[in-house]
Protein backbone atom coordinates (compact mmCIF):
# COMPACT_ATOMS: atom_id res chain seq x y z
CA UNK A 1 0.00 0.00 0.00
CA UNK A 2 1.62 3.24 -1.11
CA UNK A 3 1.48 6.55 0.74
CA UNK A 4 -0.92 7.75 -1.93
CA UNK A 5 -3.36 4.91 -1.27
CA UNK A 6 -3.08 5.44 2.47
CA UNK A 7 -3.79 9.19 2.21
CA UNK A 8 -6.69 8.50 -0.12
CA UNK A 9 -8.15 5.84 2.18
CA UNK A 10 -7.89 8.15 5.21
CA UNK A 11 -9.55 11.03 3.37
CA UNK A 12 -12.33 8.81 2.02
CA UNK A 13 -12.85 7.48 5.54
CA UNK A 14 -13.21 11.02 6.91
CA UNK A 15 -15.59 11.76 4.04
CA UNK A 16 -17.86 8.83 4.94
CA UNK A 17 -17.81 9.66 8.65
CA UNK A 18 -18.69 13.29 7.85
CA UNK A 19 -21.53 12.24 5.57
CA UNK A 20 -22.99 9.99 8.27
CA UNK A 21 -22.56 12.76 10.85
CA UNK A 22 -24.46 15.18 8.58
CA UNK A 23 -27.43 12.83 8.37
CA UNK A 24 -27.36 12.33 12.16
CA UNK A 25 -27.09 16.03 13.07
CA UNK A 26 -30.38 17.50 14.28
CA UNK A 27 -29.06 21.06 14.44
CA UNK A 28 -28.89 22.43 10.93
CA UNK A 29 -26.03 24.77 11.91
CA UNK A 30 -23.97 21.72 12.76
CA UNK A 31 -24.99 20.10 9.48
CA UNK A 32 -23.94 23.23 7.56
CA UNK A 33 -20.52 23.31 9.25
CA UNK A 34 -20.04 19.59 8.58
CA UNK A 35 -20.99 20.26 4.97
CA UNK A 36 -18.08 22.72 4.82
CA UNK A 37 -15.79 20.03 6.23
CA UNK A 38 -17.08 17.57 3.63
CA UNK A 39 -16.17 19.99 0.85
CA UNK A 40 -12.73 20.64 2.30
CA UNK A 41 -11.94 16.92 2.45
CA UNK A 42 -13.26 16.52 -1.11
CA UNK A 43 -10.95 19.34 -2.18
CA UNK A 44 -8.00 17.52 -0.55
CA UNK A 45 -8.95 14.38 -2.47
CA UNK A 46 -8.98 16.38 -5.72
CA UNK A 47 -5.47 17.66 -4.90
CA UNK A 48 -4.33 14.05 -4.40
CA UNK A 49 -5.74 13.22 -7.83
CA UNK A 50 -3.85 16.20 -9.33
CA UNK A 51 -7.08 18.03 -10.17
CA UNK A 52 -5.93 21.30 -8.62
CA UNK A 53 -8.28 23.56 -10.59
CA UNK A 54 -11.31 21.61 -9.37
CA UNK A 55 -9.86 21.48 -5.85
CA UNK A 56 -9.54 25.27 -5.78
CA UNK A 57 -13.16 25.64 -6.88
CA UNK A 58 -14.40 23.06 -4.38
CA UNK A 59 -12.50 24.69 -1.50
CA UNK A 60 -13.67 28.20 -2.38
CA UNK A 61 -17.29 27.41 -3.27
CA UNK A 62 -18.07 24.34 -1.16
CA UNK A 63 -16.10 24.97 1.99
CA UNK A 64 -16.21 28.76 1.80
CA UNK A 65 -19.18 30.50 0.27
CA UNK A 66 -21.85 27.79 0.45
CA UNK A 67 -21.25 27.29 4.16
CA UNK A 68 -21.66 31.03 4.79
CA UNK A 69 -24.75 31.16 2.55
CA UNK A 70 -26.28 28.15 4.34
CA UNK A 71 -25.71 29.69 7.76
CA UNK A 72 -27.05 33.07 6.66
CA UNK A 73 -30.13 31.33 5.26
CA UNK A 74 -30.53 29.39 8.51
CA UNK A 75 -30.68 32.70 10.38
CA UNK A 76 -33.94 33.28 8.49
CA UNK A 77 -35.53 29.92 9.20
CA UNK A 78 -35.82 27.29 11.87
CA UNK A 79 -32.39 25.88 12.62
CA UNK A 80 -33.62 22.53 13.97
CA UNK A 81 -34.35 19.72 11.58
CA UNK A 82 -37.94 18.52 11.72
CA UNK A 83 -38.19 14.92 12.91
CA UNK A 84 -39.24 12.53 10.19
CA UNK A 85 -42.37 10.53 11.03
CA UNK A 86 -41.47 6.90 11.71
CA UNK A 87 -43.70 5.52 8.99
CA UNK A 88 -41.71 7.46 6.38
CA UNK A 89 -38.30 6.33 7.61
CA UNK A 90 -38.54 2.79 6.21
CA UNK A 91 -39.55 3.63 2.60
CA UNK A 92 -37.03 6.53 2.52
CA UNK A 93 -34.31 4.25 3.87
CA UNK A 94 -35.20 1.64 1.28
CA UNK A 95 -34.85 4.19 -1.54
CA UNK A 96 -31.49 5.33 -0.15
CA UNK A 97 -30.17 1.78 0.14
CA UNK A 98 -31.32 0.88 -3.39
CA UNK A 99 -29.80 4.04 -4.85
CA UNK A 100 -26.51 3.36 -3.04
CA UNK A 101 -26.49 -0.24 -4.23
CA UNK A 102 -27.05 0.95 -7.80
CA UNK A 103 -24.21 3.46 -7.58
CA UNK A 104 -21.83 0.93 -6.03
CA UNK A 105 -22.74 -1.58 -8.75
CA UNK A 106 -22.11 1.05 -11.44
CA UNK A 107 -18.77 1.98 -9.87
CA UNK A 108 -17.39 -1.48 -10.73
CA UNK A 109 -17.43 -0.38 -14.37
CA UNK A 110 -15.18 2.61 -13.66
CA UNK A 111 -11.51 2.25 -14.56
CA UNK A 112 -9.01 2.22 -11.70
CA UNK A 113 -7.15 5.39 -10.70
CA UNK A 114 -4.33 5.96 -13.19
CA UNK A 115 -5.35 2.97 -15.34
CA UNK A 116 -3.41 3.44 -18.61
CA UNK A 117 -6.07 1.56 -20.63
CA UNK A 118 -8.99 3.72 -19.50
CA UNK A 119 -10.88 5.57 -22.25
CA UNK A 120 -9.59 8.88 -20.92
CA UNK A 121 -6.01 7.79 -21.59
CA UNK A 122 -6.52 6.00 -24.90
CA UNK A 123 -8.91 8.39 -26.65
CA UNK A 124 -7.01 10.57 -29.17
CA UNK A 125 -8.68 13.78 -27.93
CA UNK A 126 -6.57 13.65 -24.74
CA UNK A 127 -3.39 13.82 -26.77
CA UNK A 128 -4.84 16.61 -28.91
CA UNK A 129 -5.71 18.70 -25.88
CA UNK A 130 -2.45 18.08 -24.04
CA UNK A 131 -0.04 18.52 -26.96
CA UNK A 132 -1.67 20.68 -29.57
CA UNK A 133 -3.13 23.13 -27.07
CA UNK A 134 0.43 24.18 -26.25
CA UNK A 135 1.04 25.07 -29.91
CA UNK A 136 -2.44 26.48 -30.63
CA UNK A 137 -2.90 28.54 -27.50
CA UNK A 138 0.46 28.90 -25.73
CA UNK A 139 -1.45 28.58 -22.46
CA UNK A 140 0.59 26.40 -20.07
CA UNK A 141 -2.43 25.43 -17.93
CA UNK A 142 -4.27 23.06 -20.27
CA UNK A 143 -7.38 23.11 -18.08
CA UNK A 144 -7.77 26.84 -18.67
CA UNK A 145 -7.08 26.41 -22.37
CA UNK A 146 -9.68 23.69 -22.76
CA UNK A 147 -12.34 25.43 -20.68
CA UNK A 148 -11.91 28.91 -22.10
CA UNK A 149 -11.02 28.24 -25.71
CA UNK A 150 -11.80 24.74 -27.03
CA UNK A 151 -14.94 24.54 -24.92
CA UNK A 152 -15.71 28.26 -24.86
CA UNK A 153 -19.38 27.64 -25.72
CA UNK A 154 -19.88 25.32 -22.72
CA UNK A 155 -18.25 27.80 -20.38
CA UNK A 156 -20.51 30.55 -21.72
CA UNK A 157 -23.44 28.25 -20.97
CA UNK A 158 -22.17 27.72 -17.42
CA UNK A 159 -21.88 31.45 -16.85
CA UNK A 160 -25.43 31.92 -18.10
CA UNK A 161 -26.56 29.21 -15.65
CA UNK A 162 -24.93 31.12 -12.77
CA UNK A 163 -26.48 34.35 -14.07
CA UNK A 164 -29.94 32.76 -14.21
CA UNK A 165 -29.59 31.19 -10.77
CA UNK A 166 -28.42 34.50 -9.31
CA UNK A 167 -31.33 36.43 -10.86
CA UNK A 168 -33.73 33.77 -9.58
CA UNK A 169 -32.44 34.02 -6.00
CA UNK A 170 -32.59 37.82 -6.14
CA UNK A 171 -36.19 37.77 -7.39
CA UNK A 172 -37.19 35.44 -4.57
CA UNK A 173 -35.24 37.10 -1.77
CA UNK A 174 -35.42 40.83 -2.40
CA UNK A 175 -38.22 41.39 0.09
CA UNK A 176 -38.57 43.76 3.03
CA UNK A 177 -35.50 45.12 4.78
CA UNK A 178 -34.66 44.37 8.40
CA UNK A 179 -36.25 46.58 11.06
CA UNK A 180 -34.10 49.43 12.38
CA UNK A 181 -33.72 48.10 15.95
CA UNK A 182 -32.05 44.92 14.72
CA UNK A 183 -29.49 47.00 12.84
CA UNK A 184 -28.60 48.69 16.13
CA UNK A 185 -28.30 45.30 17.83
CA UNK A 186 -25.84 44.21 15.20
CA UNK A 187 -23.75 47.37 15.54
CA UNK A 188 -23.34 46.52 19.22
CA UNK A 189 -22.12 43.04 18.34
CA UNK A 190 -19.61 44.49 15.95
CA UNK A 191 -17.90 46.62 18.58
CA UNK A 192 -17.47 43.39 20.56
CA UNK A 193 -15.37 41.64 17.95
CA UNK A 194 -12.54 44.14 17.68
CA UNK A 195 -9.80 41.58 16.96
CA UNK A 196 -11.84 40.04 14.17
CA UNK A 197 -12.53 43.43 12.64
CA UNK A 198 -8.88 44.49 12.66
CA UNK A 199 -7.70 41.18 11.21
CA UNK A 200 -10.34 41.02 8.50
CA UNK A 201 -9.68 44.62 7.55
CA UNK A 202 -5.96 43.88 7.29
CA UNK A 203 -6.56 40.74 5.24
CA UNK A 204 -9.08 42.34 2.89
CA UNK A 205 -6.57 43.85 0.39
CA UNK A 206 -4.65 40.57 0.27
CA UNK A 207 -7.80 38.57 -0.41
CA UNK A 208 -8.74 40.85 -3.28
CA UNK A 209 -5.16 40.81 -4.58
CA UNK A 210 -5.13 37.01 -4.43
CA UNK A 211 -8.41 36.95 -6.37
CA UNK A 212 -6.85 39.10 -9.09
CA UNK A 213 -3.79 36.82 -9.11
CA UNK A 214 -5.99 33.74 -9.52
CA UNK A 215 -7.85 35.49 -12.33
CA UNK A 216 -4.88 36.83 -14.28
CA UNK A 217 -2.53 33.93 -13.57
CA UNK A 218 -5.13 31.29 -14.46
CA UNK A 219 -3.34 30.63 -17.74
CA UNK A 220 -0.18 29.54 -15.94
CA UNK A 221 -1.35 28.09 -12.63
CA UNK A 222 -4.56 26.62 -11.20
CA UNK A 223 -7.38 29.09 -11.21
CA UNK A 224 -9.41 31.24 -13.53
CA UNK A 225 -12.54 33.32 -13.61
CA UNK A 226 -14.75 31.05 -11.49
CA UNK A 227 -12.33 30.66 -8.63
CA UNK A 228 -11.28 34.32 -8.74
CA UNK A 229 -14.91 35.46 -8.71
CA UNK A 230 -15.64 33.31 -5.68
CA UNK A 231 -12.57 34.55 -3.78
CA UNK A 232 -13.42 38.15 -4.67
CA UNK A 233 -16.98 37.59 -3.46
CA UNK A 234 -15.69 35.92 -0.28
CA UNK A 235 -13.66 39.06 0.49
CA UNK A 236 -16.77 41.23 0.32
CA UNK A 237 -18.82 38.70 2.30
CA UNK A 238 -16.18 38.70 5.05
CA UNK A 239 -16.30 42.49 5.14
CA UNK A 240 -20.11 42.44 5.35
CA UNK A 241 -20.01 39.94 8.20
CA UNK A 242 -17.65 42.17 10.16
CA UNK A 243 -18.81 45.69 9.36
CA UNK A 244 -22.44 45.30 8.37
CA UNK A 245 -24.39 45.76 5.20
CA UNK A 246 -24.51 49.56 5.38
CA UNK A 247 -20.71 49.90 5.40
CA UNK A 248 -20.09 47.57 2.48
CA UNK A 249 -22.95 49.03 0.46
CA UNK A 250 -21.13 52.36 0.43
CA UNK A 251 -18.47 50.67 -1.72
CA UNK A 252 -20.60 48.15 -3.58
CA UNK A 253 -24.32 48.99 -3.53
CA UNK A 254 -26.90 46.36 -4.44
CA UNK A 255 -27.88 48.34 -7.53
CA UNK A 256 -24.32 48.14 -8.92
CA UNK A 257 -24.16 44.42 -8.13
CA UNK A 258 -27.32 43.66 -10.09
CA UNK A 259 -25.82 45.49 -13.07
CA UNK A 260 -22.50 43.64 -12.66
CA UNK A 261 -24.29 40.27 -12.68
CA UNK A 262 -25.33 41.06 -16.25
CA UNK A 263 -22.11 42.86 -17.23
CA UNK A 264 -20.00 39.70 -16.82
CA UNK A 265 -22.18 37.69 -19.18
CA UNK A 266 -22.22 40.64 -21.59
CA UNK A 267 -18.40 40.80 -21.59
CA UNK A 268 -18.22 37.08 -22.38
CA UNK A 269 -20.85 37.13 -25.13
CA UNK A 270 -19.47 40.49 -26.33
CA UNK A 271 -16.09 38.86 -26.97
CA UNK A 272 -17.89 36.33 -29.16
CA UNK A 273 -19.72 39.04 -31.07
CA UNK A 274 -16.48 41.02 -31.45
CA UNK A 275 -14.67 38.04 -33.00
CA UNK A 276 -17.60 37.64 -35.39
CA UNK A 277 -17.40 41.34 -36.29
CA UNK A 278 -13.68 40.84 -37.00
CA UNK A 279 -14.56 38.15 -39.51
CA UNK A 280 -14.14 34.94 -37.50
CA UNK A 281 -16.55 32.59 -35.80
CA UNK A 282 -18.24 33.12 -32.43
CA UNK A 283 -15.52 33.11 -29.72
CA UNK A 284 -12.80 32.56 -32.33
CA UNK A 285 -10.08 34.44 -30.45
CA UNK A 286 -7.54 34.10 -33.27
CA UNK A 287 -9.20 37.12 -34.90
CA UNK A 288 -7.95 39.45 -32.16
CA UNK A 289 -4.44 39.15 -33.53
CA UNK A 290 -4.44 37.48 -36.98
CA UNK A 291 -0.66 37.81 -37.32
CA UNK A 292 -0.10 35.92 -34.06
CA UNK A 293 -3.05 33.60 -33.35
CA UNK A 294 -1.79 32.38 -29.98
CA UNK A 295 -1.45 36.01 -28.83
CA UNK A 296 -5.09 36.51 -29.83
CA UNK A 297 -6.03 33.36 -27.90
CA UNK A 298 -4.33 34.63 -24.73
CA UNK A 299 -6.13 37.98 -25.04
CA UNK A 300 -9.50 36.32 -25.69
CA UNK A 301 -9.13 33.86 -22.80
CA UNK A 302 -8.19 36.66 -20.44
CA UNK A 303 -11.21 38.76 -21.51
CA UNK A 304 -13.74 35.97 -21.07
CA UNK A 305 -12.17 34.99 -17.72
CA UNK A 306 -12.77 38.58 -16.57
CA UNK A 307 -16.39 38.24 -17.69
CA UNK A 308 -16.79 34.97 -15.79
CA UNK A 309 -15.16 36.47 -12.68
CA UNK A 310 -17.41 39.56 -12.70
CA UNK A 311 -20.62 37.54 -12.97
CA UNK A 312 -19.60 34.93 -10.38
CA UNK A 313 -18.42 37.51 -7.83
CA UNK A 314 -21.51 39.69 -8.34
CA UNK A 315 -23.92 36.72 -8.03
CA UNK A 316 -22.24 35.48 -4.84
CA UNK A 317 -22.24 38.87 -3.13
CA UNK A 318 -25.76 39.73 -4.34
CA UNK A 319 -27.14 36.46 -2.96
CA UNK A 320 -25.44 37.13 0.35
CA UNK A 321 -26.76 40.72 0.51
CA UNK A 322 -30.29 39.58 -0.27
CA UNK A 323 -30.14 37.06 2.60
CA UNK A 324 -28.62 39.51 5.08
CA UNK A 325 -31.15 42.22 4.24
CA UNK A 326 -33.92 40.00 5.56
CA UNK A 327 -32.47 40.21 9.05
CA UNK A 328 -32.46 37.47 11.67
CA UNK A 329 -35.43 35.44 12.83
CA UNK A 330 -35.17 34.61 16.52
Amino acid sequence: MSTFDLAEAVLLGILIVTAVAITRARSLFVAAMLGGLFSLVTASLFVLLDAVDVALTEAAVGAGISTVLFITALALTNSREATTPRRRVIPAGLVAVLATAGLVYASFDLPGVGDPDSPVQTHPITDTYLRESQEDLHVPNTVTGVLASYRGYDTLGEVVVIFTAGIGVLLLMLGPRRPADEVKDRAYLQTEYRVLRVVSKTLMPFILLFALYVLLHGEYSPGGGFQAGVIFGAGFILYTLMFGLAAVQRVLPMRTLVVLVAVGVLIYAGVGVATMALGGGFLDYNEFNPGNPSGGQVAGILLIEVGVGVTVAAVMVAMFYSLVRRGVRR
Partner: protein, 105 residues
Amino acid sequence: MTALDVASGVLLLAGSLFAVTGGIGLLRFPDFYTRTHAAGLMDAAGAVLILLGLLLLAPDLGSGVRLLLIAAFLLVTGPTATHALAHAARNDGVRVWAEREDKKR
Protein backbone atom coordinates in the same frame (compact mmCIF):
# COMPACT_ATOMS: atom_id res chain seq x y z
CA MET B 1 22.43 14.28 5.76
CA THR B 2 23.19 17.95 6.15
CA ALA B 3 22.54 20.25 9.09
CA LEU B 4 19.61 21.66 7.13
CA ASP B 5 17.96 18.24 6.92
CA VAL B 6 18.38 17.75 10.66
CA ALA B 7 16.95 21.18 11.48
CA SER B 8 14.02 20.57 9.16
CA GLY B 9 13.43 17.14 10.71
CA VAL B 10 13.40 18.63 14.20
CA LEU B 11 10.88 21.30 13.14
CA LEU B 12 8.66 18.74 11.39
CA LEU B 13 8.74 16.48 14.42
CA ALA B 14 7.93 19.36 16.78
CA GLY B 15 5.07 20.41 14.51
CA SER B 16 3.68 16.88 14.38
CA LEU B 17 3.96 16.63 18.16
CA PHE B 18 1.91 19.82 18.54
CA ALA B 19 -0.66 18.46 16.07
CA VAL B 20 -0.98 15.16 17.94
CA THR B 21 -1.16 16.74 21.41
CA GLY B 22 -3.67 19.25 20.04
CA GLY B 23 -5.77 16.37 18.75
CA ILE B 24 -5.59 14.53 22.08
CA GLY B 25 -6.45 17.76 23.90
CA LEU B 26 -9.44 18.32 21.63
CA LEU B 27 -10.80 14.94 22.68
CA ARG B 28 -9.81 14.93 26.35
CA PHE B 29 -10.17 18.50 27.67
CA PRO B 30 -13.21 19.09 29.86
CA ASP B 31 -14.91 22.20 28.42
CA PHE B 32 -15.31 24.28 25.30
CA TYR B 33 -12.62 26.86 26.12
CA THR B 34 -9.85 24.39 26.88
CA ARG B 35 -10.74 22.39 23.78
CA THR B 36 -10.58 25.58 21.71
CA HIS B 37 -7.14 26.17 23.17
CA ALA B 38 -6.00 22.70 22.06
CA ALA B 39 -7.41 23.22 18.56
CA GLY B 40 -5.74 26.63 18.40
CA LEU B 41 -2.37 25.03 19.15
CA MET B 42 -2.82 22.73 16.18
CA ASP B 43 -3.10 25.46 13.57
CA ALA B 44 -0.88 28.05 15.19
CA ALA B 45 2.04 25.96 16.46
CA GLY B 46 1.59 22.63 14.69
CA ALA B 47 0.92 23.76 11.13
CA VAL B 48 3.36 26.69 11.25
CA LEU B 49 6.23 24.52 12.58
CA ILE B 50 5.56 21.93 9.87
CA LEU B 51 5.54 24.67 7.23
CA LEU B 52 8.83 26.08 8.57
CA GLY B 53 10.31 22.58 8.46
CA LEU B 54 9.23 22.27 4.84
CA LEU B 55 10.62 25.75 4.15
CA LEU B 56 14.13 24.51 4.97
CA LEU B 57 13.70 21.82 2.32
CA ALA B 58 12.21 24.16 -0.32
CA PRO B 59 13.77 23.36 -3.70
CA ASP B 60 13.53 26.89 -5.09
CA LEU B 61 12.75 30.47 -4.14
CA GLY B 62 9.17 30.34 -5.47
CA SER B 63 8.11 27.46 -3.22
CA GLY B 64 9.92 29.03 -0.27
CA VAL B 65 8.08 32.32 -0.65
CA ARG B 66 4.75 30.50 -0.96
CA LEU B 67 5.41 28.44 2.17
CA LEU B 68 6.36 31.61 4.08
CA LEU B 69 3.17 33.34 2.91
CA ILE B 70 1.02 30.38 3.97
CA ALA B 71 2.75 30.29 7.36
CA ALA B 72 2.20 34.04 7.82
CA PHE B 73 -1.47 33.67 6.80
CA LEU B 74 -1.98 30.80 9.27
CA LEU B 75 -0.25 32.74 12.05
CA VAL B 76 -2.73 35.59 11.56
CA THR B 77 -5.94 33.65 10.91
CA GLY B 78 -5.47 30.70 13.30
CA PRO B 79 -5.38 32.63 16.56
CA THR B 80 -8.08 34.97 15.24
CA ALA B 81 -10.39 32.04 14.61
CA THR B 82 -9.65 30.64 18.07
CA HIS B 83 -10.36 34.04 19.59
CA ALA B 84 -13.61 34.36 17.64
CA LEU B 85 -14.77 30.92 18.77
CA ALA B 86 -14.03 31.60 22.43
CA HIS B 87 -15.54 35.08 22.24
CA ALA B 88 -18.72 33.80 20.61
CA ALA B 89 -19.03 31.07 23.24
CA ARG B 90 -18.58 33.64 26.01
CA ASN B 91 -21.26 35.85 24.42
CA ASP B 92 -23.52 32.85 24.22
CA GLY B 93 -23.07 32.15 27.92
CA VAL B 94 -21.01 28.95 27.76
CA ARG B 95 -19.72 28.37 31.31
CA VAL B 96 -16.04 28.01 32.12
CA TRP B 97 -15.21 24.61 33.58
CA ALA B 98 -14.31 24.38 37.23
CA GLU B 99 -13.27 21.21 39.05
CA ARG B 100 -15.91 21.55 41.78
CA GLU B 101 -18.74 21.51 39.26
CA ASP B 102 -17.31 18.49 37.57
CA LYS B 103 -17.25 16.52 40.78
CA LYS B 104 -20.85 17.42 41.61
CA ARG B 105 -21.99 15.91 38.30
